[in-house]
């Protein structure tokens, strides 16, 4: 049971650990790219200008701090390679806005045109049905994009009428259970490679798909986003947040050690008391 001063102390320390590195940034620890992140980066790096990739914005604002920097980094990388980007959201309606904002911000910065170089298709319910339909006909499922523009004569979709045979890579940035349907109904039958990004909490869940080769890259949480930012040599929100995350993780380890010391002291005290009674 936590006493109230202990709770305030814990929360206060966590708050300081989060805020101070953001207010006073420093660059001490090297964030080396992992094999899993390199899997996504290298695939995009090796694509040819004019290739099309799909970026699934399968998260909503609750996962925005972790996955939005990842989305920005992937989009920046793709646009710098002159790739066409088809974005989609099959997680929940609230994710569409984040996708639109990211595409407009990054696309606008890099001189890309909505509808020609990129498109955000928006949200549709029922993942398996939507994904399998996109493999054979995008416009049949999406008559208009997320902004309400008709897809009938949209140049990017004229060039890429369906996923199967046209898509060179798919990156699913997932806050929930969307990676599995994308593998089962999209990437595997469609024959295009796939990578994934997820929150740090669900990173462990997707490792079996990475290990089996069903996804060739896996980005987990803010750390992976920071690694990607380093790879594209454009540090952003993820790199800024890594110091906070590092210190908070170290603090959690200290809390666990202190908690265990207190626990063992209590156990020993109880035993000594029992011995005295006996």
């Amino acid at each position: 049971m936590l006493r109230s001063w202990e709770r305030y102390l814990l929360y206060g320390l966590i708050a300081f650990a989060v805020f101070l590195p953001l207010i006073f940034p420093f660059d001490v620890w090297e964030n080396l790219p992992t094999r899993e992140v390199l899997g996504v980066y290298n695939t995009i790096e090796n694509l040819q200008p004019g290739d099309t990739i799909v970026v699934a914005v399968d998260f909503d604002p609750s996962s925005e701090p972790e996955l939005y920097p990842m989305l920005l980094a992937v989009l920046r990388h793709a646009f710098s390679k002159d790739l066409y980007v088809i974005a989609i959201n099959l997680f929940g309606p609230a994710g569409t806005g984040l996708g639109v904002m990211a595409l407009n911000d990054v696309g606008g910065d890099m001189g890309k045109v909505d509808g020609e170089d990129y498109v955000m298709l928006g949200f549709k319910p029922n993942l398996p049905a939507v994904i399998s339909q996109l493999n054979s006909d995008i416009k049949e499922m999406y008559r208009s994009d997320a902004n309400g523009k008709s897809t009938a004569d949209m140049p990017i979709l004229e060039r890429t009428p369906k996923f199967q045979g046209n898509i060179k890579y798919l990156v699913d940035l997932a806050a929930g259970e969307t990676v599995r349907p994308w593998i089962a109904y999209g990437s595997a039958p469609g024959g295009y490679p796939m990578g994934a990004g997820c929150t740090a909490v669900s990173f462990a869940d997707y490792f079996s798909f990475y290990q089996s080769g069903q996804i060739n890259g896996l980005m987990g949480g803010l750390k992976a986003a920071a690694e990607y930012e380093e790879l594209i040599e454009r540090k952003g929100a993820a790199s800024a947040g890594m110091n906070s995350q590092s210190i908070v993780h170290a603090l959690l380890v200290i809390f666990i050690i202190v908690g265990n010391i207190a626990f063992f002291r209590a156990v020993m005290a109880k035993r000594a008391e029992a011995r005295e009674r006996a």
Partner: protein, 237 residues
Amino acid sequence: MTFLRRQLPVVIAFVLGMFVLIIFYIPAAPMQDIGDRLKVFVTIIGAFAMLLGINSILGQHITKIRKRRPGYGYSWVLILGFVTMMIAWIPWWSAPPADSAAYYPWGGLENSKGAFYWMFFWMMVPMQATMFSILAFYIASAAYRSFRAKTLEASVLLVAAVIVMLGRVPLGTSLTAWLPETGFWSSLRMEEMTSWLLNVPNAAGFRGIVLGVALGIIATSVRIIFGVEKTYMGGGD
């Protein structure tokens, strides 16, 4: 009436279930076209399910307000938020621009000066992100209170958690950066130990769970197709 309520749904589930299953193995274009059409149907039905969800959540909160149950003020917040966001997103069908399927008078996602944009990006996004971020405080509290090496299993879990926690941040990996990158001692580097834990014990356990879930889904699907499972119709038998 019994036929409509009991037998007909089972017949539809059987015929369509078997049909979709069979066309999965027939790559001929006409069959795939029919399959594609059915997938669009499924999406439309999914949209109706969303309407049912809205009806259910609003119904619950309106009842709560009417009966003045504890915390009914929050129900007002939910209903007001729902109605405001919905009105801000109502399309203006009468005069859409030439290249648009719909036009949003209060601004859609592309209009940074619109009401919907403002409410979405400056209210909903920060509020949801804040809710998720508060987890950091609860995790800290839980780590201090409950992560105890009471048994051997708990101790193994604790050690694994500490390694993964440190191996997933630059500060942690820098602790063992002095170890060589190749050879035997490299396996003691924090990132290597983290990678092993995720790749071997974690992946093995999770693969078992995934296979179990998949087998469960197959079994339930077969039961629905053959009319053994009827709970989706609202009955228990």
